[in-house]
């Protein structure tokens, strides 16, 4: 199973801190600085989890999510939202995002969301395996 996490954010510092933490937690981290790049990376690789910022220059996080779902990628996605723009978060949940992270977030919050997502992924996978 892939151990790769894709971090999509147009903010370099966010990308760096996230990757630092995630790598220290034992994940392989791939970075993308905008939506186009993210879609390209999604097509190229298999990701355990995608952390996707909603507000970006160019394609927005929601557009990326829509596009990848259209293309048939069922990767688990956690949206990163600006604080208070819950509406966007709700919108993205409808499009099949697993969870959302409200900016500004803390390591604690990040850890919880990532762990929860991965656990769910595992449960889903187990169920799927069981069915098969």
């Amino acid at each position: 199973m892939s151990n790769k996490i894709l971090v999509v954010d147009d903010e370099k510092n966010i990308r760096t801190t996230l990757s630092t933490y995630l790598e220290s937690s034992g994940f392989d981290v791939v970075l993308a600085s905008d939506g186009e790049e993210a879609l390209k990376k999604i097509k190229e690789d298999d990701f355990l989890l995608i952390l996707l910022d909603i507000k970006m220059r160019g394609l927005s996080g929601i557009q990326v999510l829509e596009e990848m779902r259209k293309l048939g990628f069922k990767n688990n996605v956690v949206m990163m939202t600006a604080y208070g723009t819950i509406e966007n978060a709700v919108e993205s949940m409808k499009l099949g995002a697993l969870d959302f992270l409200s900016k500004p977030f803390t390591l604690e919050g990040l850890k919880n969301v990532v762990n929860n997502s991965i656990n769910r992924q595992k449960i889903d996978d187990d169920n799927n395996a069981g069915e098969k």
Binding site: E11, T17, T20, Y21, S24, Y83, G84, L107
Partner: protein, 620 residues
Amino acid sequence: MKTIKSKLIAIFVLIFAIIVATNIFAIINFNTLQSSINNILKSNFDSVLYAQNMAIAIERQDSYELAMMFEENEENVQGVYYENQKEFIKWLEEAQGNITEPGEDIIVNELTSNYKAYTGKYNEFELLVNNNQTIGAKDYYYREIFPLFEDIKQGCRDLVDVNQKKMIILKNNSEVIAQRASTISLIVSSLAIVIILIFMFYLINKIVKPVRGLITKTREISERNYSQLLNISGKDEIAELSKEFNIMAAKLRQYDLLNINQLMKEKQKIETIVESISDGIIVTGAENRILFVNKAAEKIFNISELDVIKKHFTEVIKNDDLFVYITDIKSEKDALPAKEYLDIKIKRKGATNYYRAISRAITNLEGESIGVVTLLQDITKLKEIDEMKSEFIFSVYHELRTPITSVIMATELLEKEISGKVNKKQKGMLEIILEDGNRLKNLINDTLDLSRLESKKSELEIQPNILSRIIESVLKMFEIQIKEQEIKIIKTIPETFPMVKADFGKISQVLANLISNSINYRYQSKKLIIRIKASQKDGKVVVSVNDNGRGIAEEDQKRIFERFVRIKSEEAQDSKIGSGLGLAICKNIIKNHGGNIWVESKLTKGSTFYFTLDIADNNN
């Protein structure tokens, strides 16, 4: 001058004169009567008396003569004859001096001549008797003296007759006079009464008629009809009064005109001022009917004063909030104090304008409110600027979120030594960055929260909710703190309690804020007890959060709901992490729920925060 006084005097003089005249007339009549009666008594009665006395005297003389003839030697009685002769002459003389009736003088003259002849014959007779010629004497007597005697007696009777007849005539006369006198007196009196009555009526009319006129005109004057003046005729007091009255009416009219002019001037002045005020002004009366709107108000509501005057407020201005506000202001005295102002939004021809309505009750002398003056200030520009400012702040804070996220995360990564070891001093510094980073994060979050609440950008999801469930969920958030700090929570909610209209998340936020305030401002030395209570009052739910903490000084109690107000306290934990926006957020959330939030507190004794929520209808 022909005054009423002189008229009255004239009337009384006239009456007096008539009375005097009738009296004089009656007296004259009476006197005539009296004198005629006197005449009867005096002259006629005297004559009768004289005649009778003469008759007696002549009878005695005759008796003496008879005695002389038949009884001799009786000289002693000779004196009787002369005595009676004297008597007779005396009465005859009286009768002569009392001749009153026609024919009486003839009778008396005849009597006189007869008596003269009689005395002459007596002397002859006496001679015959003295010469003892008895037969001759007797013969002489019967021949000469006796016829004379008879004549004299007859004369006396005639005299009596004449006077008696006259007396009867006079008696009849006096009866006639008396009759006439009473008749005339009656006529004269009646005439006098009639004349007096006529004069009285005339005079009374003369006095009363102008007075009637005065009464009518006075009534008209009191109804401000000054145009009709009194007709003045004559020169009496009434006429004078009428003249003065006319002068007074004229003066009153002038005064009235002057007053009206002044009032009109004042009115125009005020109207000009009011009309030229750029703020809208609406005056409503006791029944919320519109009494006045100025030009600005006409423009604001697109109405015309002429069309809306005396109409009910709601008929003219379709703004329920404003109407509720105005009625609140009107009944302020006996109800809760109303809001200082109300901001309303009016959409017109595609443009949206904002107005701040400031209403004040008009009270009468008894302090009852009889209407409301509402001032409408155009705050569109202010609102726009305010919105721009909010927008600006919002976007600034918005932009701060991403950098603060990286700052906190990077610091945490360092502090947790994920990216390599740090020494103790460095760790201390990193902790400082982290602590203030978190403070910044809270400030950003709260500010964004608040500005969203204020601009009502965040729509509330108000649904019927079970209050105790909200409380439970909030207490769960504090589970660890409650356990660690040994906080006692006392929850009092009646078992059957209605559902409340609330946004679950937002009310949770309010409760969480209040509870964390209680925790942050507790006395460390004392066991913290937090009482959460819910009750019903006036159709609303009142939730209270009470603690036994430090309390809030009275001067701070009003300010704490304002932005960035934090009660300074060295011991307070919150002073390091709170944004100072917590209660401002609470206030906005409750306000957006249509409720109220307030505090009761005593320094060192603790605080109780209250807020109200609407009860959810069962069918909702």
